[in-house]
Assembly symmetry: C2
Homo-oligomer: 186 residues x 2
DNA sequence: TGTACATCAGTGAACGCGCGTTCACTGATGTAC
DNA sequence: TGTACATCAGTGAACGCGCGTTCACTGATGTAC
């Protein structure tokens, strides 16, 4: 039975939200279209009324995940940007973030899979990375150097959590600790 | 027809070498057991004379890939450790490494998949990360600080290449450039 | 505003396909004497 | 060293399974008048 346009839009949002969590948790290949639709409260058949194919959903899920993930960096007043950045970094390198990829950084969870995906998916990922880097650059040197620092910071964070999640607990703690700010300079 | 023990051992090495390349190139799920065996010059049925299952092969492939990848850092004389480290870093952040994951860093190519794998696989990955970190720590401060720096360097390298491979070319260049040593201090 | 009809969101069965794994078989290799 | 037999590496067919995607169908919604 047909549902209203407003309800269709709500269905679409539920699908994207579910995919954004399930893909980050288990990888794109670890969550089937059926899994995603079930998590969104529907059956699998209706999926193709919303997306061309599974990879189109991945693009939408990445955009949503990055936007949500970068929000704390981008929404506060400029004067508090440095504080927001520190808080972001601390959370990023926390045991909670390591243990909960479903709500965590999409770049760390899906990078290698996106590297093998269609240009459309890579484009969504690129825009997301730019958003996070933009957030990390706020309130920094206005020259190109601020952007450079932001990108290097982001790379360190992503690498740290990718490694920490794949290694045993002891080594993970050493990695996360090594990448944490060790003084006020950072 | 049965083959000699020596030939069996050679078969095993070919399987591991093929898997180590194919898994890095396309992900573990992107290369089937049949693909690996074909690349090793055999048919799929014999696979289980060598490995319990596909994940056991992943553990072996990770060990081999890390050992090969860390070798340049570990084998030279101690006096040249700093130079080897710089060369390693430069190659790591190069366009060649970005374009050729099959011969590249196993951590960057397979981290997220390993994070979801069995303890046996995670253990092999952990030992590999330790080996690379050991290589990066050679000739550095003997205190704990040298190891800390090595781990942070490794995280930056891994994150940079994970991001660079998933984003478009222009942003990739910016990321790799931002993580490259910009003076003799690094 | 009301009516008649076209549209289409969601359902659930079905499809073709590739996967990891198993198995019977072959015949060369390993081993016990 | 030679012989007889057990072992087992590799082959290729077959298995069960889950996947992405398609499709006929239903009936509520959207729309043209």
């Amino acid at each position: 039975m047909r549902v209203s346009n407003a309800e269709k839009e709500r269905s679409r949002e539920r699908i994207i939200t579910a995919a954004s969590r399930l893909f980050r948790a288990g990888g794109v290949e670890g969550a089937s279209v059926g899994d995603v639709m079930r998590a969104a409260g529907m059956t699998h058949g209706g999926f193709y009324r919303h997306f061309e194919d599974k990879e189109a959903l991945l693009a939408a899920a990445l955009t949503a995940a990055f936007e949500e993930f970068a929000r704390p960096l981008l929404e506060g007043p400029a004067a508090e940007a440095a504080a927001a950045r520190n808080e972001f970094r601390t959370h990023y390198l926390s045991e909670e973030h390591r243990a909960d990829p479903a709500a965590g950084c999409p770049a760390a969870a899906l990078g290698p899979e996106v590297a093998r995906a269609r240009p459309e998916v890579r484009a969504a990922f690129s825009r997301g990375v730019e958003r996070v880097a933009e957030g990390l650059a706020r309130g920094r040197a206005t020259s190109g150097e601020g952007g450079r620092e932001a990108l290097r910071d982001l790379a360190t964070l992503v690498g740290a959590i990718v490694l920490a999640r794949a290694v045993d607990d002891e080594l993970a703690r050493a990695i996360l600790g090594a990448c944490a700010p060790d003084d006020a300079r950072r």
